[in-house]
Amino acid sequence: MKLKVIVTLKNGVLDPQGKAIQQTLNGMTFENVSEVRQGKYFDIEVNESDESKAKSQVEEMCKKLLANLVIEDYKIL
């Protein structure tokens, strides 16, 4: 089964790329953009039919590799 994971920077952690994107958008025609936070998206195909098993495996993957919990949060969609 396929699981989707989003990894984002925690609130309060500086995101210079997001800031640069926001400023670029403001310089285009999107003056009303007040914040952009950039993140990562993963599609993960797991050979496992039991959904809860697959989810708990992906949770482990997030903790051990996909996200660095010092600065990032993850969400399994």
Binding site: V13, L14, P16, Q17, L65, V70, I71
Partner: protein, 226 residues
């Protein structure tokens, strides 16, 4: 004294490190990332570069490579492990050092000489260096050291800050912070001070004609203290 330099796909400071270690008397060996055992060593070095193309996060894939278990075992048994630049990033990703190296605050790749202040000399890496400020080279895009407030307190309480960015007189304030690093941190130790991660490259400052020699002071002290 024996040293081992680990080579990852994308390492590019491994040979400079090999030259530097040998120049100051180490018997150095190169170890491939896909090996599982490290030859008997007094020092293991994780060199600079772009291991695994900096995919996912800098150092994250190298931090799970086959050789890393041996590096972690060696470090946990008290062995000296030195991570330079990408090596520092790998050490934080393995959890051997606290915190993480984020993208530079102003989104630029920085390649220049900087001054760093030695904050702690009660360790084998800086013990007998007869200077307080060293001129070293940095070249990185992700050198912006960050950790949580609790971790920072623990790092400070245990005197784990090794070096900070400063001016030539040792003033380590925001004006002399090239990448936005928390507290100007350029290098940190683990609690036991046997593991050191640092962004500057001492191996690039060992030639009086091409660079400077403050890197020589680092390696001379290191082999002398082993």
């Amino acid at each position: 004294m024996k040293s081992s330099v680990i080579i990852f796909p994308g390492s590019n400071c491994d040979r400079d490190m090999d030259v530097a270690l040998k120049k100051f008397g180490f018997k150095n060996q190169m170890v491939w990332h896909n090996d599982t055992e490290i030859p008997k060593s007094d020092l293991i070095v994780l060199p600079g570069g772009f291991s695994y193309g900096d995919y996912l996060r800098c150092g994250s894939i190298a931090g799970k490579s086959r050789i890393i278990k041996s590096v972690i075992d060696f470090a946990n048994s008290g062995g000296l492990v030195l991570g330079i630049c990408n090596g520092f990033q790998i050490l934080t990703e393995t959890g051997l050092l606290p915190g993480i190296l984020q993208q530079n605050k102003y989104l630029n790749f920085i390649c220049k000489n900087v001054f760093v202040k030695i904050k702690n000399k009660e360790n084998k890496y800086f013990k007998n260096i007869n200077k307080e400020v060293l001129e070293l080279h940095i070249a990185h895009n992700e050198g912006n050291y960050f950790c949580s407030n609790d971790e920072l307190k623990s790092i400070e309480d245990n005197s784990q800050i090794a070096i900070t960015y400063c001016d030539h007189k040792g003033k380590d304030d925001e004006m002399n912070n090239p990448n936005g690093a928390l507290k100007n941190i350029a290098g940190i130790f683990n609690k036991d001070k046997n593991i050191l991660g640092m962004m500057p490259h001492p191996e690039r400052m060992i030639d009086p004609f091409l660079s400077g020699e403050d890197g020589s002071l680092f390696f001379e002290n290191l082999i002398g203290s082993l």
